[in-house]
């Protein structure tokens, strides 16, 4: 369908590092690339974990303080159950296996698909400094480390949108 004001570019900010937060960014980003929309992904704060080499494929989901989390069968997961050792790892493994069934790739492979289509991946300078990460800690295909000002420069243009996940 022809749009009068089509979206030409998306700039997606990922500031959180739980599985569901990172995948929101990856699915929106990959979807944009597949539509031929110019795509920039900007990872900051805990979202940096998604582009740190030895962390990106080991993300977890929160089992405490996550009221939408349910047990198999649909019952709400009691917060106290979440504190049992191994519960977070088990729940995260369950989520990842459910996603794999839908052909949703692991984080590193998903980012590969996005960059193969021309999408760009950036890290936030301030968050890098705060968590004491170096460029070498990051996934090889991260384009560069940006300040907020540089991010806004990058995000400019007609038909461009900034999305915060």
């Amino acid at each position: 369908m022809e749009q009068k004001y089509p979206i030409k570019k998306v700039n997606i900010i990922c500031a959180k590092g739980a599985i569901e937060d990172v995948y929101a960014t990856l699915i929106l980003g990959n979807g944009a690339v597949m539509e031929g929309i110019k795509t920039n992904l900007f990872f900051t704060f805990f979202g940096l974990d998604a582009i740190v080499k030895n962390r990106m494929d080991k993300l977890h989901t929160a089992v405490v303080g996550n009221p939408a989390l349910r047990l198999p069968g649909g019952m709400r997961m009691p917060t106290l159950l979440g504190v049992i050792p191994g519960m977070e790892a088990f729940t995260s493994w369950m989520m990842k296996s459910q996603m794999a069934k839908l052909d949703i790739p692991p984080v590193s492979e998903f980012l590969d698909l996005i960059t193969a289509g021309g999408g760009k991946v950036y890290a936030c300078k301030l968050a890098m400094d705060m968590f004491k990460f170096k460029k070498e800690d990051l996934w090889d295909q991260v384009s560069s480390i940006l300040t907020v000002g540089e991010f806004y420069e990058l995000a400019g243009g007609e038909g461009s949108q900034i999305i915060f996940t």
Binding site: G31, M34, D103, I104, E109, L113, A116, G117, G118
Partner: protein, 103 residues
Amino acid sequence: MAPKTYAGITVDVNEEGYLTNSSQWTKEVAVEIAKEEGITLTEQHFAIMEFLRNKHNKGEALSIRSINHSGVIDVKTFYQLFPGAPLKKATKIAGIPKPASCI
């Protein structure tokens, strides 16, 4: 649904130009649809379209990830062969429905 003629062959297409009956598809039809999309087809295009058509005929969902597992080409080449929106264009030219997948 409306009939459209490509290379002397009449096919049924939907409002977005996708063939509604994939058995009406021929390579000659593909060449003509590709022209409308600004693409000149090569052997590589046909090889990946054959993979997509086979997958569609088996009732399997199409995703960008499956291209990497096709053994035909990688995703990067796929984006180069069908610039812009590769999966949408490739399925259109291959005479199969537009994928309803988010990935």
